[in-house]
């Protein structure tokens, strides 16, 4: 359930703050970077959102595509951080 709630909130933030062309066929594993959904400012906005909304602190060495390049990756990262907190 936690996963569903987290990914729903992340999806809501991404789809309401960034332009996603309908032809991209966006889903939870779509690459934010490869599909041009996020530029560097967009990544910064996403980092600020997850820190504020989920009460986690993103370390510099965690700012990698493996954690931030898709909804699924980001959800898994946020939930790992919440467990460690």
């Amino acid at each position: 359930m936690q996963s569903t709630q987290t990914i729903t909130e992340l999806r809501e933030f991404v789809t309401s703050n960034f332009y996603i062309p309908t032809e991209l066929g966006f889903d939870d594993t779509s690459s934010f970077l490869a599909q041009g959904i996020l530029d560097s400012t967009g990544v910064l906005e996403l980092v600020t959102f997850v820190e504020d909304r989920f009460g986690i602190s993103v370390q510099d060495d965690e700012l990698v595509p493996a954690n931030f390049d898709s909804l699924a990756a980001l959800c898994a990262y946020v939930e790992r951080k919440q467990v460690w907190r």
Binding site: D39, S40, T41, L44, E45, V47, T48, L63, F68
Partner: protein
Amino acid sequence: MTYTGTKPAFTATPAEVDRLVMRLHEVVRHGMRRKGVVLGISGGIDSSVVAALCARAFGACNVLGLTMHEAESSDDTRRLAQVVIDHLGLATIDEPLSPLLTAAGCYERRDAAIRKVVPAYGPGWRCKLVLPSILETEQLRISSVIALSPDGKELRVRLPADAYLQAVAATSFKQRTRKMLEYYHADRLHYAVVGTPNRLEYELGFFVKNGDGAADVKPIAHLYKTEVYQLAELLDIPAEIRARPPTTDTYSLPQSQEEFYFALPYARMDACLRAYDHAVPAAEVAAELGFTIDQVERIYRDIAAKRLVAHYLHAPPVLLD
């Protein structure tokens, strides 16, 4: 001109200099019907080369070089700008920028942005924005501020989105105010404004929209930085200007262009951009430049992301007809 891997394809020759000079003259005098040109002189290699081309195209007396230093300009910038002005014999006007920038709130707005993450930031502190190394880490290219306190303590803090955007927006007053002054003098003299971006800057969006990105003609925007250095030698630009490492000279701490924007020192960035533009496989570039394939793929992704941003920066206003 044929492409050969990542090696430069351009060779500066006297004939090429003559071609650029004639084309510049034709574009400004015939196309724009302007009598001369205005440009900002920074003491860097790009504005020095463009100034030399302009002096040949229009005669030094028809080239107005503006020096537009401000409180955070380096001593080197001030000195080298004078070196190139004296060398070329340009007509010059000094336009001190700090009063205009202070009135616009450039420094105060930027400092307020930095105080969001460094609350003590204020008078006597200095700063710059930096990116993580693209060669050493997979880290996403997000800027941090480096702040140096008056007693020498250095802090490095990642900026949240609102602080980053405000710091950059405030700093952009510098480029936009310079351009405003260039157009003032151009209008007054019926001259054209000449821009000084090289290809790395132009193609990858390393400029401020309606700031240093604005000009009537950009004579070296098609040339890679290494090619600009070739031209500089041919145009007899003073050695100390050719030897100076490229700098942004925008923030109060010394800042190289690669730590602020580009992924690599200019010669390697040139090679990678040229390879990217010619769809050279990452493995081939890696072998030639001594990188790993992963590194080249990261550089290619960074180039693609910058070109996406540059698309907006280059776009003219859209008419809804």
